[in-house]
């Protein structure tokens, strides 16, 4: 898509919101739905209720952290360890929000609205907004993103519920397949999207360190693997030149 000379105008903020909502329906929401299906199934398998699954998706809405939380909870990790691991897993939301908000900012919009919409910053919507919003009239970007993220969030909730319900009713091998969606999903996303040398190294070291450290200390393995492998990848990747 080429950048238009004049900014795209949907006519009104309401129509911009509808346009965003429509744009969200399609492959992004199918992939996202599939992965939250897997999350719902995972919550079922560790013996929690559908309310826990929905509560986690509604309040967290950042799947890697949600999965880390449930997995750590299942091995009996302490709240402190869980919170730190979730925080480190989701630290990527900070640079994402820092870059997205200036794009959505329009004159006359009260600041609290950005704090509300920031809860709906996650990978799928962020990628789409960074791509689509610069070509739009400034005051229609926030409504567009609200529509887009609103649909994604609703699909996530629905899929979480459906995954939980399915896990209890489909044959056991299919349930295993549902729970298996997420490790596969994140493995593929990392493989497909990560380009920077230091991040590739960090992911490879993490993939090796994760299982090895788990054998030594199930509770601390995630934190240790993340900090050690991430730091190693960062340092070696930087030394090798080619920053990005």
């Amino acid at each position: 898509m080429s950048v238009p000379r004049t900014l795209h105008d949907y006519g009104s903020t309401g129509r911009a919101m509808v346009a965003g909502a429509r744009r969200a329906v399609g492959v992004p929401s199918i992939v996202l739905g599939g992965s939250f299906l897997g999350f719902g199934a995972l919550v079922h398998q560790v013996g929690l209720t559908v309310w826990h699954a929905l509560f986690s998706t509604a309040t967290g809405w950042a799947l890697p952290g949600q999965i880390a939380l449930v997995e750590l909870y299942a091995v009996g990790a302490s709240v402190l360890v869980i919170a730190v691991a979730v925080g480190l897993t989701n630290a990527r939301l900070f640079p994402m929000t820092v870059t997205l908000i200036p794009l959505l900012r329009a004159p006359g919009v009260p600041r609290w609205q950005y704090y509300v919409i920031s809860h709906f910053v996650a990978v799928t919507g962020w990628v789409a907004a960074m791509r689509d919003c610069p070509a739009m009239v400034t005051e229609q970007r926030l409504p567009y993103y609200t529509g887009f993220a609103g649909v994604l969030w609703s699909i996530s909730m629905l899929a979480t519920w459906a995954g939980f319900a399915l896990a209890g009713s489909v044959p056991a091998p299919v349930t295993l397949g549902l729970v298996f969606i997420n490790p596969i999903y994140f493995m593929l996303i990392i493989s497909a999207d990560v380009r920077a040398r230091s991040r590739v190294l960090a992911a490879v070291f993490g993939a090796i360190g994760g299982p090895v450290l788990y054998l030594l200390t199930p509770e601390w393995s995630l934190l240790l693997a993340g900090v050690i492998a991430g730091t190693l990848g960062y340092l070696i990747g930087r030394r090798g030149g080619a920053h990005e």
Binding site: T49, G60, E71, N90, P95, L176, F180, Y185, G210, S221
Partner: protein
Amino acid sequence: MSETALPDAVFWWPILVMVAGAAATYVWRALGVALSGRIDPEGALFQWAACIAYALLAALVARMIILPTGPLAQTPMIDRVAAAILAFAVLFVSRRNVLLGIAVGAGTLVLATYARTAWF
């Protein structure tokens, strides 16, 4: 586990853990709003943080595939690793079609599990 039979503590404790998790997540988003436009997302600290996030996620994924907890642990490791490798191969053959990769990866594990129960 039955939903209605859960004692209060068993229900509320995980909720409390999730509140802590949600707080640890939202703090990044709020901080992002507070500092947006005033900080360089390409800076060294960001790069380091991104590396830690990717390493942690990769560690979690590898652990879930190689040493899963819960019901996935009943499947043989060779099945899970083979399904993961196949999904990975499909991703690159299909020009990074993540949806197809997921379908093949999860589908392989389901079929392998069925095959084992039927034949062994």
